[in-house]
């Protein structure tokens, strides 16, 4: 698996309780690597090194004994999480303007003020004469002597 012959596969090296693989920073943003690593620190020991410019080497060491298959699975799960982090970043960047616009409108737009005014007017219009203390007790709502039959 670590011969590097097939570029479509994750190329990794297996060691004692550890698996490592290299990531190209042009493909995987460093923040995505941090995001994935952050989620894995409770499952494995994660260590990053820089084997060459533009590359990050990730080493995952299992917290206990692990078979080769388990190490390979661990590396695969990390790679999946890496992709997940990349997608999250891309969606976040793609929708940043929409979020900013929505927040700006909520805080500074006239619609927000109008909504609050309408809500206050609705509260003022409510007839609370039958409940002067504004404490409505559920069993009295339709009760009228329902206790004890």
């Amino acid at each position: 698996m670590s011969d590097g012959a097939d570029d479509l596969e994750l190329v990794y090296d297996l060691g004692a309780r550890a698996v490592s693989f290299d990531l190209h920073e042009e493909l995987y943003a460093k923040e995505a690597v941090y995001g994935a690593a952050y989620l894995f620190v409770d499952r494995a020991y994660v260590f990053l090194t820089r084997p060459s410019d533009g590359h990050v080497r990730v080493r995952l060491r299992s917290r206990g004994a692990a078979t080769e298959d388990q190490l390979v699975a661990l590396a695969g799960e990390f790679a999946n999480e890496l992709l997940n982090q990349m997608v999250r970043r891309q969606v976040s960047e793609a929708t940043s303007q929409i979020r900013e616009y929505t927040l700006a409108r909520a805080f500074f737009g006239n619609d927000g003020r109008a909504s609050i005014d309408a809500l206050l007017a609705e509260l003022d219009a409510e007839d609370l004469d039958d409940d002067p203390l504004e404490i409505e007790v559920p069993w009295e709502r339709s009760g009228q002597g329902s206790v004890g039959g």
Partner: protein, 76 residues
């Protein structure tokens, strides 16, 4: 685990995170911090025997998590 030297690449690990790691794990070992052009270098000696199997790995995890939290907002 015997004494260890751990190199944290400057381009991958935050200085504040390394210092935080030294402070947090300093009670379990003697940790000497030095720096060269590319890395923060931690020489870890006199490791508490109760934690010697995991201390260096836990220290590295701690520094990485601190770095990740500071650079990506933490909530990954």
């Amino acid at each position: 685990m015997a004494d260890a030297v751990v190199r944290f690449d400057r381009s991958l690990y935050a200085a504040d995170a390394v210092h935080a790691g030294v402070e947090a794990f300093g009670k379990f070992a003697r940790i000497a911090l030095s720096e060269d052009a590319d890395a923060f270098v931690l020489a870890v000696t006199e490791i508490d025997p109760r934690h010697e199997d995991v201390l260096v790995d836990e220290l590295a995890n701690y520094v990485l998590a601190e770095t990740a939290a500071s650079r990506s907002g933490g909530a990954a």
